[in-house]
Subunit: 300 residues, 2 copies
């Protein structure tokens, strides 16, 4: 009886230890996940750990991952996986995960846990391109280029894609300098174009913004890799020539209108304001607000 009792006790201890150890093993090997303010769980895997695919698979299928988060009423799971552990993605896909986005050395997958279609926010949907209309007000001439390797040799304003984190005006000034050698400064935003399913944007949308710039230098030194031609062209000529794109023609007409009757008619100047929550700053563009309307704030 004693030996039997000891054996029973041993068995109990063993089973208990296995359960505790098993849980500890799971929580040690695979992170618990952090709950965000929208009720989602975020799990960030580290390149130096979490290497075993079989263990990942059983953890994700087991009771300490998706099943538990569902029981806890979480809305979704975000899984951040370093590129070197990409073998794990296949197993996440088997559990219903999809790519949310990926960049450089990390991919992010999501799984929506609630009823109905996912209400998670998507990733960035637009690329932003900026062109600069550099107008020499003394001569009425504007800086134009013809792109290399195009079937149509149309005059257009120099410009290109924004770098990540780059302000609209900064892109215009940089692209003008890179393409034409002309230094300039930002004056205003003139126009925005939105185009979807853009061939050059991996099927995403394209936001193309044209700015009015003021030249700070005048001697052209254009980039032969990007441009076929570059010159200072009479603005009125550009506005009414057929050797240009429809958008360049239209903005040249608008700029000509501003040149003749005052830029306040066409300009959206920029104002920098502090963001409420983040402490960062943002750039706001709109028609000039007359002092009278702005100043009324002070009365209150």
């Amino acid at each position: 009886m004693q030996r039997c009792g000891a054996l029973w006790a041993l068995g109990t201890v063993y089973r208990y230890a296995r359960r505790v150890y098993g849980r500890a093993l799971c929580s040690a090997t695979w992170p618990q996940g952090k709950v965000d303010r929208f009720g989602g769980v975020s799990v960030r895997l580290l390149p130096s750990e979490h290497r075993e695919e079989a263990s990942f698979k059983s953890w994700l299928r087991g009771k300490y991952a998706v099943r538990r988060w569902k029981e806890e009423g979480r809305t979704a799971v975000w899984l951040h996986i370093p590129i070197t552990l990409s073998g794990l993605i296949t197993y996440a896909a088997m559990e219903g995960f999809h790519f949310h986005h990926a960049e450089n050395d990390t991919s992010t997958l999501t799984l929506w846990l609630k009823e109905g279609p996912s209400r998670l926010p998507g990733f960035a949907t637009h690329q932003v391109g900026v062109a600069g209309a550099v107008l020499d007000e003394d001569t009425g001439r504007v800086l134009v280029v013809q792109d290399k390797n195009k079937t149509l040799n149309a005059w257009k304003f120099p410009g290109g894609l924004s770098d990540p984190g780059e302000d609209i005006g900064a892109t215009a000034v940089r692209e003008v300098l890179e393409e034409t050698g002309i230094k300039s400064e930002f004056k205003s935003l003139l126009s925005i174009r939105q185009q979807h399913n853009h061939p050059g944007a991996f099927g995403k949308s394209d936001m193309y913004i044209i700015c009015r710039l003021k030249p700070l230098s005048y001697s052209i030194n254009f980039c032969p890799h990007e441009c076929l031609k570059c010159e200072w062209m009479d603005l009125q000529e550009l506005a009414y020539t057929s050797h240009t794109t429809p958008i360049t023609s239209r903005i040249a007409k608008l700029l000509f209108y501003g040149y003749k009757e005052g830029f306040h008619n066409i300009d959206l100047p920029v104002k920098t304001l502090p963001a409420v929550y983040s402490g960062l700053f943002y750039s706001l563009y709109h028609k000039e607000l007359p002092a009278f309307y702005e100043a009324k704030t002070d009365l209150q």
Copy 2:
């Protein structure tokens, strides 16, 4: 001698066959890649094929993949991998590939083959949010909401993120309807805000656009999941109250100016134009171009 010669011949045939078969095996198992107009090679793997990781690894390291494309002077490699074959990504990373982007069930990796830093275009950099300032011109009242779950109970215009492929005006109208139950139509674009490292945009940039809308219905039926309050507020009161965000206050002042002195002072109406190459259409926003300046085209 004869037997020796036969053996030699057999050996030659065998080595030749192995070379031909080996090459055929490689080209049959792993796609050759398509060359794009920028000199890059694009390789699209299929979920139904290309399953063997060891074979992928030796193909990518061997002389029929990266090494050959380098010899051929290609600029870069684009690798499109279905999510079920994500195990292959790890081997691509070992050869220097990085994620360009990923979405739903596919990831795209790139490897720059030329000297210096990659000159490949990046993926989308901005999310786009749109708010609608719905002004009832008869009463001078504007539709405002207070968001649920915010620390500051500030009045603001209803709005939200654009769906993929959705026009700016369409987002404004949809979001206003979803949040407040008010039907409206797009009149003009009023303002653009650009903000980088946006906390709600996965570190990407945020473009926030405010539109002027005209109400088509007046009876509020707001969404209790999104809004705490919703009402028609006197525009002048909104413009000069402190119970609002800096951007709402500023755009309310601008809208008040337009209401008092004519919307032509503040509006960027939309025009739809055909794209030169794709045959698709795009939306262009800028200050109204007077007929005189537009009409001059006809003279040429």
